[in-house]
């Protein structure tokens, strides 16, 4: 886990960000324009953050169709995650799914995922993972379901309560030896999309593969992310939400907060701790402490934003 490195430095208004980690239950972030705000337990955070703003939910890497040793019941754990969403005391405004909805892009897997996720009765904004574009037509199956109103391989933006949301696709046209890839067309679209957005507008970017280099040896990064981030430099608050690595990681760089979500299907090893990034089999009793959902609270008036991860086994 990374903590901001400026703990001992004078905290200026732009860098007032703290990360607090509670063992076993998840991570809570607060961003504020003054002194870092300490939020307590999950319940307290909910009460504090949703009073005047809104929350949304991130789920990721549901891998419907996966049935190997690391979790033979990925359908059940997605159902548990959705039950957890439905039980939240504060109803989120919508959900985002940061990809790998399915394991093999089959129609049946997409159907099952849609049925379970639909049970939460929220609008869901999707971006594809690499597992969602391996149908015989190289991504047609995903676009037929979720491509309406999107550009290119499925990228788009929308606004909610004064926050500008951008869904990016970095899993298509990957190059030999490379990492995730946005491509020139998408970057040109992003530059154009941001033209009309004021610098004071909070930005939330979501994409499957992390937009920062977590561990290139395992492909955990995006080759042309720097170009996208350069376009986002002038904004005062940028939050980047990713999946793909099935574990919580975070980094803060200037005004940009990067965060990766847990999977609802199976955990993957920490960078470099295993021969490969493949599914990690843990004792059955531990599995649900490594799967989970992410709740993001936006409180406009006070420029606060909180990212709260909670596991399927958490209270």
């Amino acid at each position: 886990m990374h903590h901001p490195s400026n703990d001992d430095e004078r905290i200026d208004r732009r860098h007032a960000l703290e990360c607090m980690i509670w063992a076993g239950t998840g991570v809570l972030w607060t961003v504020s324009s003054g002194v870092p705000v300490s939020l307590g337990l999950l319940g307290e955070a909910n009460a504090a953050e949703t009073a005047t703003g809104f929350t949304f939910l991130q789920i990721s890497d549901s891998h419907i169709g996966f049935d190997k040793a690391a979790n033979p019941h990925a359908i059940d754990t997605l159902k548990e995650a959705i039950a957890k969403v439905r039980a939240l005391p504060e109803k989120p405004s919508f959900m985002i799914h940061t990809g790998d909805i399915t394991h093999l892009s089959t129609a049946a897997q997409f159907d099952t995922a849609a049925q379970i996720i639909g049970g939460a009765r929220f609008d869901v904004h999707y971006v594809p993972g690499e597992h969602d574009i391996i149908d015989e037509n190289n991504g047609r199956a995903y676009l037929d379901r979720y491509g309406a109103g999107t550009k290119g391989a499925g990228w788009y933006s929308f606004d909610q309560n004064g926050v500008h949301f951008i869904g990016l696709v970095n899993v298509v046209n990957l190059k030999a030896g490379g990492l995730g890839n946005l491509g020139a067309d998408q970057l040109a679209w992003l530059a154009d999309d941001l033209k009309a957005v004021s610098a004071s507008t909070p930005i939330v970017v979501f994409a499957h593969i992390p937009l920062w280099a977590i561990y290139p040896e395992w492909g955990w990064g995006t080759d042309d992310a720097a170009q996208a981030l350069a376009l986002l430099k002038r904004f005062g608050s940028v939050t980047v939400l990713n999946g793909h690595i099935h574990q919580i990681m975070q980094k803060v760089e200037g005004n940009v907060t990067f965060h990766t979500a847990l999977s609802t299907a199976f955990p993957q090893p920490a960078p470099g701790t295993a021969p490969s990034p493949g599914p990690m089999t843990v004792p059955a009793g531990q599995l649900r402490s490594l799967l989970g959902i992410t709740q993001i609270a936006v409180k406009r008036g006070k420029e606060e934003l909180a990212i709260i991860d909670s596991t399927l086994s958490g209270t």
Binding site: K68, H103, L104, S105, I134, A176, G177, E217, P275, G278
Partner: protein, 114 residues
Amino acid sequence: MIRINLSPRWLASALVCLGIIVMAQAPLGAADTARVKIDNFTFAPKVLTVKAGTTVTFENDDDIPHVVVANDGSFRSKALDTGDSYVFTFTKSGDFPYFCALHPHMQGTITVTP
């Protein structure tokens, strides 16, 4: 004085080596076929040299699907789930670098000799 340590571990690895030698020799005599195993997000062997006309089988032993695709686009598998294979016959000589379309840090080369 040379000491030979015949520990169970040594014996086991010796037996595995023998097995590999036997397995490696069989296809040579049998037919123009060769195999690339996909395991732990790597292609093995990373460089495989075959004669023109050889049919190469790519077999996925990982718990995650992979897609074998030539850098020059000359061949491309479907998504290979665990245990699935892709077969391609190399007719032209030359080096054919390939990678996994899903995990492009995975790379290999088929070298085809006349």
